[in-house]
């Protein structure tokens, strides 16, 4: 296997990882600050993708589509926070799971009701289509490189937001002590709505960005949701840094596992069988990764120790 192929696969893993980070960051923030398990986060990803596809389809502008995705997802997030989620902060995890599970049902079927059962079209903008040649002669799609850049920029922005701004201080205070931010004179319910909308917007952004290279369809959020949960659990719930590291780990494991495990199996198996068992193992690999991490560190890589 050539080194070019390996580098290309690492880039692929990285791109997958940073997109997972966009999902996981919101999820982990919401859990860290509000203590809420939000299964409906994947629905916000879907909302973003559908909004982008609808607006880009009408206006022909991908950028407008992206903006629409951000607004629609943030708006949807703020609405469900104010109508439903707000009543669940003090509830048991179990009630949160059920309520947000119910939200998934409503969002998925609602979207199907509005947009129909067929996938929507969303294409990457012309300016970003096609491959570029990287140093070393690697041909790599420009759009995917852009995704990596956007993901890293968002990560940087989040870090700055949390470490360097007033809202960041409030968020960190909220993670440590929910009562304290009330004492600091912060309007908690406004802060929570804001954080929820921020998380939702990130999910919507991911949905729109990824929707352009995948298919925009009902149910697209659920597999990503499960992966995002895997990411934040590996990283340690509530930790943005953990989500970042976890996302890259999961992205790389999934991509590289799918490529290299069958190759590895071919060393001691007949090719067809190696292909089958290798890819079977690859599909389980991230769950094994998560299992191992949790057995080793029951609160994830960067989670609070008990």
């Amino acid at each position: 296997m050539s080194s070019i192929l390996i580098i290309e696969q690492i880039l692929n893993g990285l791109q997958f990882g940073v997109m997972l980070f966009l999902m996981a960051a919101g999820l982990t923030l919401i859990f860290g600050v509000m203590g809420l398990i939000n299964l409906a986060h994947g629905s916000l990803y879907m909302v973003g993708a559908f909004a982008a596809a609808a607006v880009a389809g009408l206006t022909g502008s991908f950028l407008l589509g992206l903006i629409a995705a951000l607004i629609a997802a943030a708006f949807a997030g703020a609405i469900i926070e104010m109508v439903v989620i707000r009543r669940l902060y003090k509830a048991a995890h179990l009630d949160q799971v059920l309520a947000t599970f119910a939200l998934i049902l409503i969002f998925s079927e609602g979207t199907r009701w509005v947009f129909g059962s067929f996938p929507l079209f969303l294409d990457i903008p012309d300016a970003l289509s096609g491959p570029v040649t990287l140093p070393g002669g690697i041909q790599y799609p420009l759009y995917r490189l852009t995704l990596i850049a956007i993901g890293l920029l968002v990560a940087l922005g989040l870090w700055a937001l949390i470490e360097r701004t007033r809202i960041g201080i409030q968020i960190r205070a909220g993670e440590n002590d929910r009562e304290m931010i009330g004492a600091l004179g912060v309007d908690i319910s406004k802060l929570y709505t804001l954080i929820f909308a921020l998380g939702a917007a990130l999910a919507g952004l991911a949905g729109a960005l990824v929707g352009a290279i995948q298919s925009v369809q009902v149910g697209m959020g659920e597999p990503v949701l499960i992966l995002a949960f895997v990411v934040i659990v590996i990283g340690g719930i509530g930790s943005i840094r953990g989500a970042f590291v976890g996302a890259l780990l999961v992205g790389l494991t999934d991509t590289l596992g799918g490529v290299f495990l069958p190759e590895l199996f071919k060393l001691f198996m007949e090719a067809g069988a190696a292909q089958k068992s290798g890819s079977a193992l690859a599909s389980m690999s991230i769950y094994m990764l998560m299992g191992l991490v949790l057995i080793w560190r029951p609160t994830g890589l960067f989670g609070a120790r008990t």
């Binding site: 669940l88 509830a91 179990l94 119910a102 499960i226 079977a280 599909s283 769950y287 949790l294 057995i295």
Partner: protein, 328 residues
Amino acid sequence: MKLNERAINTVVLLGLLALPLYALVVDEPFTITLVTRAVILALAAVGLNIVLGIGGLVSFGHALFFGIGGYAMGILAYHAQTYTTLNLGFFSTGGTKLMPVIWLVAMTVSAIVAYVIGKLTLRTSGVYFIMITLAFAQMFYYFTISWAQYGGEDGLSIYIRNDFPGLNTLVPIQFFAICFVILCSVLFLYARLQASPFGLALNATRQSATRVEAVGLDPMKLKLLAFVISGAVTGLAGALFADLNRFVSPTMFSWQLSGELIVLIIIGGVGRLMGPVIGACVFVALEHFLGGLTSFWHIYLGVILLCIVLFARGGILGLLTGKEGAHV
């Protein structure tokens, strides 16, 4: 509303028995099948309720045991119906179509797997436990999807239901009878377990593991045993479910199914004897009637579930008895 929980329980069980009998009289066999489905789902959820309700462990991977039970049935019956040998290295068998044997295998394998997984996962708690149990179920899900020998994603079809001595299991009411008797036995076991010293200690573990440790008991061992019992019961339900459908597939391992089992319990009432049973009846009824009304029935189901969480803490039983908690 304040009704006596024991009275409600009696009414529900009697209703669960009366409906199929009525259906038998008016010759509506499908109603019997539908009630049987509710009974089996209830059984699976009763199993989950042992860890979730008494032990406070939110297992988001209980479909794992449901699936193991299903595949235990599928594999044994597959070998029996194709006259092939199942070779495990240390042991080989021609499979079987006898229900009691299948049940025993389903429960044993589920219990063993539960023991291993419990050993690995019970160190974690809260969301970590939720997710790690999910992870194990997902591993089995993906494994069975690519397990070509037993049908992979297509699953395994068993053309004729397995045998129970003295009964014709293909007759809906007779298969219902089997499932109903099992459910009642397990409910009885659950009630005894809940009131037993073990149940008391497990219940205390949920509320304060520190206290349980301070009186010299080991919460880990309590939880592990509960997990094993729970896995075995859900595994048994899985074998029955596969027999009801005469079919087993990886969807029995899916996370949606794990979620549904939790939903059943919350609808009915967490930690209550009949909570899972009431939840299963309501869920199957909603699925059947709403599904017949509109193809967008998931929206309505979602709204109903939301209302239960927001306005009926303690589930339907909590609403009816006026008591949120499970304590009798």
